[in-house]
Symmetry: C2
Subunit: 177 residues, 2 copies
């Protein structure tokens, strides 16, 4: 049950609405967590009933009202307790690899298209991450210090995406031969 902790982590940095959290997951945090709006709203509701978070409604000009959530003390405590606990290894479930494994049942062009599509998607992600890295590198020494840990998670994204591209190139080469 870690969507809960991902949300606590984001709220610890800044108060946000469900919609804000969604946007964060979709953009710069896409590397480490993904969740649908339905999941997020449901989770916020249940966290509120557990009193880990609180909210106030904020009216906006020309936009719908939003519920802005903040951590309670109990939420802060739950988060630091969780950070202290050891994790177990995450599991890998990669449908693309299943498909490749069974690739003799598809035709080469089909697989090639799948692979180039995969490559393009990861190239796009990598570009996004590299742009964020540039921003980080151009920030002040003080900011760099504050953002050191988030920066390391970004590095995971960059290194991981680069690995995806390297592998995709190997596969594409093979399929072309």
């Amino acid at each position: 049950m870690s969507l809960k902790h991902a949300i606590l982590t984001l709220l610890e940095t800044e108060e946000s609405s469900g919609y804000d959290l969604l946007k964060q997951f979709q953009s710069r945090l896409g590397y480490f967590w993904n969740a649908s709006h339905q999941q997020i709203y449901a989770q916020l509701k249940s966290m509120h009933s557990e009193q880990l978070i609180d909210f106030h409604v904020e009216a906006q000009a020309n936009k719908p009202d939003k519920k802005v959530y903040t951590l309670t003390q109990a939420g802060r405590d739950a988060l630091s307790e969780w950070v202290q606990q050891p994790l177990k290894l995450g599991k890998v479930n990669d449908a693309l690899l299943v498909k490749l494994y069974a690739g003799h049942l598809a035709d080469k062009d089909q697989l090639l298209e799948e692979m180039t599509n995969y490559r393009d998607n990861h190239q796009r992600m990598l570009n996004t991450f590299l742009a964020i890295e540039e921003e980080y590198k151009n920030s002040s020494a003080k900011e760099k210090k504050n953002l050191a840990l988030p920066y390391l998670t970004l590095r995971r994204g960059i290194i991981g995406e680069q690995a995806c591209l390297d592998w995709a190139d190997e596969v594409i080469d093979f399929l072309h031969s």
Copy 2:
């Protein structure tokens, strides 16, 4: 719903019991799919009721009987149809990155232990994969040709694990500084 297709893929290569499938996921296929025995047995049951697979009971000396499953024609068809369909991008949910992001709430030693543990696990995986790669490289030309696609999925494992190690080293360096 892809555990189903992962199982079809394995059965397409060779008939297996639920237990055999579990072992395959745990060992050499660990990189691309993981599933618990409960999940596997439940899935086999439901696939059998959909008539994608068939089984016969095999008695063994000094071991419990086992149910050996094989693909039906419908199963074969379902698999090739699935291989033909485009996939959507898999989602990333990495609790370790959430933890690092919120790492200012933990103490350095705690994080270091978590990271070295992570590093060790991935080193172990990498070693396993490299050993399998050696086997592949020493096999006959004919076998190499047959195993070309599974070999590419293994490459994904090797490249991915290497990326984990590189990243872990960056993080560990940072935490030591």
